[in-house]
């Protein structure tokens, strides 16, 4: 399929020139086109932030909800209509900060959705405050003495919680990222793709070049099926040992998804909106209240 099917004609894109978001948008369209997902079958869900605006720029069904709350509606959507391809996309602040609790518990639930996080290590839309992934010492108008909190490690947390697909990518590498996103969308169950994204406007430290210098890909021989090993690699990073590894860290196949655990889908896959109330059964239930 041609990625252009997702193009929006009159979208007034609100991103800054040079922003890594453009590359992510492009790459995402390519990966989705590779998978031949028609726009009508695609539901893009987001929270609020610069990254959270992405769904407005890709032809699809859109649920642009509240800051921090991309994963909960995504779970609800998938549970009501298994036939939809659901992709939740938002920023690092939205997903790991305000939405941190949903991040953890969505992973435990394992809905069959893809979670793309634009990780620019900063709050973009609100003009440059530290995000959970901001690196130590970053100075901002809010962090006047610099960030001192340990940067949030989404991969390690996800793997710890049993996420069934965990990957990290870089917006600057379209081809590799395209493949990772494709595999993530194909994966049955929750998949996390944390994408390093330069924000030239507000993050003057973790620039395109900085990322280039501080990343490398997991070696080809790396097998993403061992939790302890995956964790070991996930805690690597400048703070610990040098550079951030990229690639697919962990995959667990075969775990039942959230939807598969629901009794409504035991027999049929019919979306919930197509089902009718069984009024006879309801009458019987009421009748049963006559008896002891």
């Amino acid at each position: 399929m041609n990625p252009e099917v997702y193009d929006m004609q009159n979208a007034d894109v609100a991103w800054c020139p040079g922003c890594g978001n453009f590359a992510i948008l492009k790459t995402l369209k390519m990966a989705l086109a590779d998978l031949e997902i028609p726009p009508e079958n695609l539901v893009m869900v987001s929270g609020i932030g610069q990254a959270g605006k992405l769904p407005h720029y890709i032809k699809s069904n859109v649920f642009n909800g509240l800051h921090g709350r991309s994963l909960s509606p995504a779970t609800g959507i998938k549970a009501s209509n298994k036939n939809m391809n659901v992709v939740a996309v938002s920023g690092d602040g939205c997903t790991y900060g305000e939405g941190g609790n949903h991040f953890m518990h969505t992973i435990r639930r394992n809905p069959d959705i893809t979670n793309i996080v634009h990780n620019n290590m900063v709050y973009g839309l609100t003009k440059g405050q530290a995000s959970p992934t901001s690196q130590i010492n970053l100075k901002t108008p809010f962090q006047v003495d610099g960030v001192f909190e340990e940067p949030f490690n989404p991969l390690a947390v996800a793997i710890s919680l049993g996420a069934t697909f965990v990957a990290r990518a870089f917006a600057g590498d379209i081809e590799k990222t395209r493949k990772i996103i494709k595999k993530a969308v194909e994966h049955k169950g929750y998949s996390l793709v944390d994408i390093f994204q330069p924000c030239p406007t507000f993050n003057k430290v973790n620039t395109f070049q900085w990322f280039k210098n501080n990343i490398y890909y997991l070696e080809d021989s790396y097998k993403p099926h061992n939790k302890a090993k995956a964790l070991k690699r996930a805690v690597e990073g400048p703070h610990e040992s040098g550079k951030f590894p990229l690639g697919i860290f962990y995959i667990k196949e075969g775990l039942k998804t959230f939807e598969e655990n629901l009794s409504v889908y035991e027999k049929v896959d019919t979306p919930l909106f197509k089902r009718e109330v069984d009024r006879d059964k309801l009458k019987k239930l009421i009748e049963s209240k006559k008896k002891i």
Binding site: V43, V45, N64, G65, S72, G76, I77, P271, K290
Partner: protein, 585 residues
């Protein structure tokens, strides 16, 4: 002291003891046995926020007339603990007969109290263990009430069958033992209430169940929620019925996730609801606005308890009307239903889903611990006229999610239904659903959302007027009108009926927002209006004033966590009638 009890109409039995002592078992047997015995039955409980210990009590009323309210009066107190009498001291009178095991209440003044001691525990131990004491007690009470032994046995069989034959057998024996005790007690406690065999085939449900049945009937497909008293019973009800009625029930990690998940499900076409209480609902406040902005329906079951903060977790209150009315930033329409009886609970809960879908807004079912936990029998529960109205449209490629229409309602599609796209956005948006900062579109969208209120008003439930006169003159003015909403319904109605006076009326609201346009006129039908509310501010009185310019004359407010009793309402009515007399003099 040692009196006799003679009851021919209506008996109030209270069971009181520690959490974990098995009050619930006795309660379940008794309500069923009473109904099976051919009496009307009502039960209500008050309990502490702890799993063991403390003092909890359940009131069970049996009568030959329909009874559906809490009364202060205790005819028979079954005390399971020493502290039971202290716990209920304000409600125990010289008329109250206290029944307890012989091992407890040894220090009670026999002159002041009507105490009957029964060796329940000893008898139970003989049957195999202390757990049978409760069934013996239930048997004794049933016997006193005149429930036929066979009816009682049927209850025991039905209720314990899951536990195996051995247990059933023992419990039947315990019941028989109880009946023997009961026969002896009949010397002192003489209850002779008229029976009606038809009652046996009536429906016995709780407020929670009535709401739950309405939700299923209204097409509920998705509930995500977080445990919180007193909303948990409805969550259990839906979880339990999920498989049978093809619903999803999911316990969320917190209330924020619950409502956002529900909104996602609703966006994708599943009629959705959340259940919570004050603190939990406060956390949902932002997403209530999301529902308003996305124009994506959600039904919110808000079961109240006393606050602020954690407050009294297991008690009743009507303190969160203001919160339901105003929670969430910004402005958009909403509906608040406040059922006060089982039939209304079914109806408004069903309706909630239709209205939420029709107007694409949040709709509240506002109840409280008292209502959620009461049980009583009703002749039937009719779902014949309750239809699921379908408001979804199939989309075309030029579909506009937020099309501006004269009544503000934009035809709503969902993903995967038709050839267009369903685009919803929490920012201000254009007709398509995309972010806009065009300030004239903003104005149009605010107006579009707000104007939906006009049609909602047309479809709102009117206050219902109750009084004792058979032929009401059209312009008759009552001396006193009691105003109530939600769970105070039956206590007020029973009290008003008891006055027997045709100059006392009761105006009841099962929908408090928006208020039906006739409300102002209805309020003017009395010289004196008195609102009864389980809060300290008189929140509904404020709402009435705001919406109708009518200033309610008096507020009778109770906020200690207990419901109004029939006696209290009677007292309030009499106080005001007396006051009037004083003034007239």
């Amino acid at each position: 002291m040692s009196g006799e009890l003679n009851i021919k109409e209506d008996v109030s039995i209270v069971l009181c003891g520690e959490a974990g002592q098995g009050i619930q078992t006795v309660e379940s047997i008794m309500v069923q046995a009473i109904k099976s015995g051919g009496y009307h039955v009502f039960s209500t409980k008050e309990y502490m926020s702890r799993v063991r210990g403390g003092q909890n009590s359940t009131q069970i009323r049996a009568s030959h007339k329909r009874i559906r309210s809490y009364v202060d009066r205790i005819d028979i107190l079954v005390a399971l603990s020493d502290e039971a009498v202290t716990h209920l001291k304000d409600r125990i009178t010289s008329q109250t007969i206290i029944i307890c095991d012989e091992t407890i209440l040894n220090d009670l003044d026999p002159v002041k109290y009507n105490l009957i001691k029964v060796p329940f525990l000893e008898k139970a131990k003989k049957l195999g263990g202390p757990i049978y004491a409760n069934v013996i007690g239930a048997g004794a009470l049933s016997c006193i009430l005149g429930v036929e032994k066979s009816a009682f046995d049927d209850c025991i069989k039905a209720m314990f069958s899951r536990k195996g034959d051995k247990i059933v057998e023992n419990d039947l024996k315990a019941g028989s033992e109880g009946y023997l005790v009961g026969e002896e007690l009949k010397a002192i406690i003489k209850i002779d209430i008229l029976k009606d065999p038809l009652i046996k085939d009536e429906i016995l449900i709780s407020g929670t169940e009535a709401v739950g049945l309405g939700c299923i009937s209204g097409g509920c497909r998705f509930m995500s929620s977080y445990p919180m008293t007193p909303s948990s019973p409805l969550q259990v009800f839906i979880a339990d019925k999920a498989r049978d009625f093809e619903m999803v029930f999911e316990q969320a990690e917190d209330e924020i996730a619950a409502i956002n998940m529900g909104l996602g499900a609703s966006y994708a076409g599943a009629r959705s609801m959340v259940a919570t209480s004050g603190s939990g609902f406060a956390l949902m406040a932002e997403a209530v606005g999301l529902s308003g902005m996305l124009e994506t329906p959600i039904v919110i079951y808000l079961a109240q308890r006393p606050g602020p903060a954690v407050g009294l977790p297991t008690r009743t209150a009507q303190e969160d009307l203001d919160l339901a009315l105003y929670a969430s930033p910004g402005e958009f329409p909403r509906i608040i239903y406040t059922p006060g009886n089982m039939e209304d609970a079914l109806e408004v809960s069903h309706n909630a889903f239709n209205m939420a879908d029709k107007y694409q807004i949040p709709v509240f079912i506002l109840t409280d611990q008292y209502f959620a936990d009461i049980y009583y029998n009703i002749p039937h529960l009719d779902i014949m006229n309750l239809e699921v109205e379908d408001f979804l449209v199939k989309s075309t490629p030029d579909y506009l999610r937020y099309k501006i229409t004269p009544d503000g309602i934009s035809p709503r599609t969902i993903p995967g239904y038709g050839t267009g796209l369903a685009i919803v956005d929490s920012d201000e948006h254009d007709e398509e659903g995309h972010i806009t900062e065009d300030l004239s579109i903003r104005t149009a969208m605010v107006e579009k959302r707000m104007i939906k209120m006009d049609k909602i008003l047309e479809e709102s439930f009117k206050g219902e007027l109750f009084h004792n006169s058979n032929h009401l003159q059209k312009d008759k003015k009552f001396k006193i009108m009691i105003i109530g909403w939600g769970s105070t319904y039956w206590p007020i109605r029973e009290a008003v009926e008891k006055t027997g006076r045709d100059d006392v009326a009761f105006l009841y609201f099962k929908q408090v927002y928006p208020l039906h346009p006739d409300t102002g006129d209805m309020l003017k039908k009395a010289d004196e209006t008195i609102v009864l509310e389980n809060n300290a501010k008189g929140q509904f009185a404020h709402l009435i004033q705001r919406e109708t310019d009518f200033k309610v004359h008096f507020k009778a407010l109770k906020f200690n966590g207990m419901p109004f009793s029939v006696e209290e309402v009677e007292e309030i009515i009499h106080y005001h009638l007396e006051e009037d007399k004083e003034v007239e003099k």
